[in-house]
């Protein structure tokens, strides 16, 4: 492992040559793992992608499993951060269903277009050995909390249909998004189209049907009849 005091270039721990090589290996592992799957991930392939020899990996990671586990952990962590930041950037009064829209879009874009780590984590969740799986679950739960909250808020606001069981609805929605890793490919369709379709599908799938008759919205009781178009969008 990279020791401390010695002949090391920049005292900066985050950008030393060592740190960069480690990153390169991690990136390479995410690349391979996201495409070949847990079984198909050879340290030889990772090394090749990182432009080193396989044994050099052991200078930074104590084993193949440890390397893979870190990739998967990073994958979920970054996905969570990405979605969380997108949500935090929304105006505080954004309607619950619009927040879900954002989460759907960011989850999809992040895993499909941005991060091999997220793809690796999602696609291999059910393939890794027991012990990795267990620790991974803890991290996944944290991400799940975001969605739990999103749906819960929608429910409180009366925007969620009552016939939906919250947990099942949440997992089904996440499943629709996660599974996109299995079929979407930039060569056969635009990501925007997928995002647009997913947002519509999820919104209408969850939302209480709007009774928009010309008679005027009946502001019965509480905060129904939301509407709230939020900020500039990327809709076509």
């Amino acid at each position: 492992m990279p020791r401390k005091s010695a002949g090391k270039p920049p005292a900066d721990p985050s950008d030393s040559k060592s740190a960069r090589t480690r990153e390169r290996i991690l990136d390479a592992a995410a690349h391979v793992l996201s495409r070949k799957g847990y079984a198909g991930t050879r340290l030889g392939d990772v090394a090749e992608q990182a432009e080193i020899q396989a044994p050099a990996i052991y200078y930074y990671f104590s084993s193949r499993e440890v390397l893979i586990e870190e990739v998967m952990w990073v994958g979920v962590a970054r996905l969570r951060e990405h979605v969380a930041e997108a949500l935090e950037a929304l105006p505080p009064d954004t309607a619950p269903m619009d927040r879900i829209d954002t989460a759907v879009e960011e989850h999809l874009r992040f895993q499909l277009a941005i991060s091999d780590f997220a793809t690796a984590a999602i696609r291999n969740a059910g393939q890794v050995p027991e012990d990795i799986r267990t620790r991974q679950l803890a991290e996944e739960r944290k991400y799940g909390d975001i969605w739990r909250t999103l749906l819960h808020d929608a429910q409180k606001a009366g925007e969620l249909r009552a016939d939906l069981e919250p947990r099942a609805a949440r997992m089904l929605v996440l499943g629709a998004l996660n599974w996109a890793n299995e079929w979407w490919n930039p060569r056969q369709g635009s990501l925007d189209v997928v995002v647009r379709t997913a947002k519509s599908l999820v919104r209408h799938g969850l939302e209480v049907p709007t009774t928009r008759e010309q008679g005027g919205a009946r502001p019965s009781g509480g905060s129904r009849g939301r509407r709230t178009a939020t900020s500039a969008g990327r809709t076509a």
Copy 2:
């Protein structure tokens, strides 16, 4: 391989001892593969589950890959047959969206409660080596055709919202269902609840909102009154 003319019990090819052992191995492989994944499936585990010794597998299958490929092929084939039969059993005048309801329910029930083969096929679709994957794709396309038709019919009948891109919508719906293998477990919730939630989610997710005010249902050409709301896109 089981030869022909010799000391064989029943001339019936489908129920010979040989055929039954072969089945047992196939079932065992589906059992293990559906739970442990492609990487984790050891012939030793399969053999144990089938109550034989590992090398005996080679009497029926020429290699681990051949065995796994057959499990996966059977998985998709049976899933397709199951869903197809359920659809054929419906009254001929069943509305497109009700047919989709049926497909959702049967797909879910079959994979979650009935067939390890379907689970194995779905969960490992993206994990098997290239050559298996390619052949598997052909079989999957046949199943996909059922769904393509379902959505297409719904579209023709004006029951499908126009803002949904058909292929993306189909894959997202199938993803929601397929992913259930990753999280559903009989110990933490009733399958009925999942099925009910999925049906509702999919129906409302796809369907043109019903204007069930005192007038009749008006599947008018355009989709008026659209919802606006667009997330704040592309966050930094």
